[in-house]
Symmetry: C2
Subunit: 108 residues, 2 copies
DNA sequence: CTGACGTACAACCACGCGGTTGTACGTTAG
DNA sequence: CTAACGTACAACCGCGTGGTTGTACGTCAG
């Protein structure tokens, strides 16, 4: 997960993920989109590959990059779990408040 | 967003987020949970604070840390958008395949 | 008042990141 | 065959990160 979030923690890399999710493309095709060297883009792709956010596959002399929605989903589920913790806590607080009001009313 | 994902790209920080989402606590209370110096935990909290994943509020001599579910939700939405790109593409491919089969059938 | 506690911050270190340039190698086009 | 293309990789640089220790300061308890 460290690698996944680190992969997403860069605007260029998030854009690459978006690109290859909608259409698989070679590293050099991707590189042309960004105002930086080919090697830099290559490194970004490598970071995404280590995080399994993206896979590479040779096709002739080109290396085709595709997005991997599974890892993306795992990240969403983790964050959803955090949100659930929050909601559960909020519900518990509401319950206590409701109980307090009840107690108050009974005490009167 | 860079800061948000960078904030989440560390196991200790993700644990801190989880902790303070379920129960707000002081920095030193948090620090006791981890096998590192107080200053290190302080820095992790600072990273989370810069990403707005967490807020701090003074209470006497303590600094109370709370989770911020809003930023978490924005991250989830972004990743959901990526997934949607994928699903849309998959649907488009399915449509084309269906059309091909149709064409094939008609041609026979 | 005094001491312990919680915090803040600076200095330092090793390491990794994001970027560059340069070089080398396999593959395809002409 | 040769040239151009796509890729891989190493070396380098500046900077930020994750960790440490040390010092200082406000606040609370006894």
């Amino acid at each position: 997960m460290d690698r996944v979030f680190h992969g997403l923690a860069d605007a260029t890399r998030r854009d690459i993920v978006e690109q290859v999710l909608s259409r698989e493309q070679s590293v050099s095709t991707l590189a042309r989109r960004y105002d930086m060297s080919f090697a830099a883009v290559q490194k970004h792709v490598a970071v995404l590959e280590r995080a399994r956010l993206v896979t590479k596959q040779r096709r002739g002399r080109e290396q085709i990059v595709r997005g991997n929605p599974d890892v993306l989903r795992r990240a969403v589920h983790l964050l959803d779990a955090y949100e659930r913790i929050w909601r559960d806590r909020a519900r518990a607080i509401d319950d206590i408040l409701a109980e307090d009001i009840d107690t108050e009313r009974t005490a009167q």
